[in-house]
């Protein structure tokens, strides 16, 4: 995602005219690598900036809507922070280990994301988009923090995801890990529906899916 767009924009004003009348940008592509450190995700920030610029500079009378597929890992360390105030924005997403609700709103404190490079970069990109929306109030952004999306229409799983990897390791190790609580998995069709609704202009800037 990020590299190709950077390339197009960096090649000066040679953007295909097609880009002039974009009405909705949905950013879902992202390097799924939990081992890379934050610095390695810098290209995604450049990508988000470039795509946001495209949305802002749209020739249409209003900037394009922008939907960013963020991650629950962008608020990974929320449960370690204590200053979570009670608010009507409380969401049903609960961290089972500490039962601290995570708010559906942007976070200004980077500490909330510090855990792994992936989640940290999601926080940075959320912040970049929020600043874009501050600078250009007409820019309509939606940040969707996605957790684990499971399965597919035919029931098949991506084997590289954590849940299948866990199962695959079972026969080899002869055991499965013990976990507390219940893992919430969102099935892909439901997630798609939610995501699409959010993209259509659900009046909310930061949502959990």
């Amino acid at each position: 995602m990020s590299r190709s767009v950077t390339h197009i924009v960096h090649n000066g004003e040679t953007l295909h005219p097609y880009f002039d009348d974009v009405t909705l940008t949905r950013l879902s592509a992202y390097p799924m690598n939990y081992n890379m450190d934050l610095a390695a995700f810098e290209s995604t920030c450049a990508g988000v900036e470039n795509l946001a610029m495209l949305a802002i500079e749209s020739e249409l009378s209003r900037p394009a809507r922008f939907v960013f597929a963020s991650s629950v890992s962008a608020v990974h360390s929320m449960c370690h922070l204590t200053q979570v105030a009670q608010s009507p924005l409380l969401t049903p997403i609960i961290d089972h280990s500490s039962s601290v609700p995570v708010l559906e709103r942007p976070s200004e404190d980077p500490a909330i994301a510090i855990s792994m490079g992936y989640g940290e970069s999601k926080w940075v990109n959320e912040t970049i988009l929020l600043r874009a929306a501050q600078a250009v109030p007409e820019l309509d952004i939606s940040i969707v923090r996605i957790g684990q999306i499971s399965g597919s229409r035919n029931g098949a799983w991506e084997v590289a995801q954590w849940a299948p990897s866990l199962m695959v390791s079972g026969p080899v190790l002869g055991c499965l890990p013990t976990m507390n609580g219940v893992r919430d998995l969102l099935c892909i069709s439901l997630q798609k529906l939610t995501y699409r609704r959010l993209s259509r202009g659900f009046p909310c800037r930061t949502s959990h899916a």
Partner: protein, 296 residues
């Protein structure tokens, strides 16, 4: 009782610490068995020291155990790129390797790190410990370019020190730095000048006729209209501006200079591709059409 032999044994084990633990255990067992039959002067494990020198570099400790042939044919690998060296040492396929992922993720351990450190020595000075500290190929490449600059500037270790210092900033600072770096360009798009008029933009055809003349004047004097594209067929006899002026004169109509500034006279054949106008103008009109500010 056997103090002396143990010391010797330890000395040798230190030198040969580039072995795997099973190998090391074998050597220890071997040495202890030898001790059963009396004091051991010096225990030298039975290994291929040619191979050790090839991977670890020359050392006075085992130089005498290396055959002469092996120490010569070693310089070929110096021409390799860091990537190919890493892929070789870690026994990885190129498609499985990402320059942004720490080498330790690919199973780099103290042994392979020592090997890698040696094999990279012609390109960059990087220690075994540095490699093990979640270094990535990108880090190594950065180090190489710093080293190259260093040589050019002949400034010894200062550049490296700066690089290390900057990488030591905390994650939190880096997160904010990245956010700052990539959010500085956002501005409200400006709407100014001829290219983006705020009022209505109108295309009107045939303004040299009697009715067209009247429409042109109406539009040009309408304050809500900011631009009028007046499309007319080209004529071989006289330029469009001259024809337009004549037509206005005949209708006893006139426009002020300010009103004229809104009007762009365009020689156009509407049934030709792109209205028979220049590409630039055509795109400008298309742009205004998309912005829904254009009335036809």
């Amino acid at each position: 009782v056997h103090n002396q032999p143990y010391v010797h044994l330890c000395a040798v084990l230190q030198v040969t610490s580039n072995f795997t633990s099973p190998e090391l255990c074998l050597f220890i067992r071997d040495g202890l068995k030898k001790l059963e039959s009396g004091p051991v002067g010096l225990y030298v494990p039975d290994v291929n020291f040619d191979a050790i020198e090839k991977h670890m570099g020359k050392s006075p400790v085992y130089a005498h155990l290396v055959t002469a042939d092996a120490s010569n044919g070693d310089d070929k690998s110096d021409q390799l790129s860091p990537t190919s060296v890493i892929l070789k040492v870690l026994d990885l396929a190129a498609e499985d390797f990402s320059p942004e992922v720490p080498l330790t993720t690919y199973g780099l351990d103290s042994l392979s790190a020592a090997r890698l450190s040696f094999q990279l020595r012609s390109l960059v000075q990087v220690t075994q410990m540095q490699l093990l500290a979640h270094m990535t190929l990108n880090d190594i490449m950065a180090k190489i370019s710093v080293a190259v600059e260093e040589v050019a500037a002949d400034q010894g270790e200062t550049a490296t020190a700066v690089a290390v210092q900057s990488s030591a900033s905390t994650t939190k600072e880096l997160m904010l730095t990245l956010a700052d770096r990539y959010s500085g360009r956002f501005r409200r798009p400006e709407t100014s000048g001829i290219s983006s008029p705020s009022g209505k933009v109108v295309i009107v055809t045939g303004t040299t006729g009697a009715v067209g003349c009247g429409i042109l004047v109406d539009l040009a004097t309408d304050p809500s209209v900011s631009r009028v594209f007046a499309l007319n067929r080209p004529s071989e006899h006289s330029p469009l501006l001259k024809r337009q002026m004549k037509a206005l004169e005949q209708q006893d109509l006139s426009l002020t200079e300010q009103e004229w500034a809104k009007v762009i006279l365009v020689e156009s054949v509407v049934h030709h591709a792109k209205l028979g106008v220049s590409d630039d103008l055509y795109h400008e009109v298309c742009r205004l059409l998309r912005s829904r500010r254009l009335l036809y």
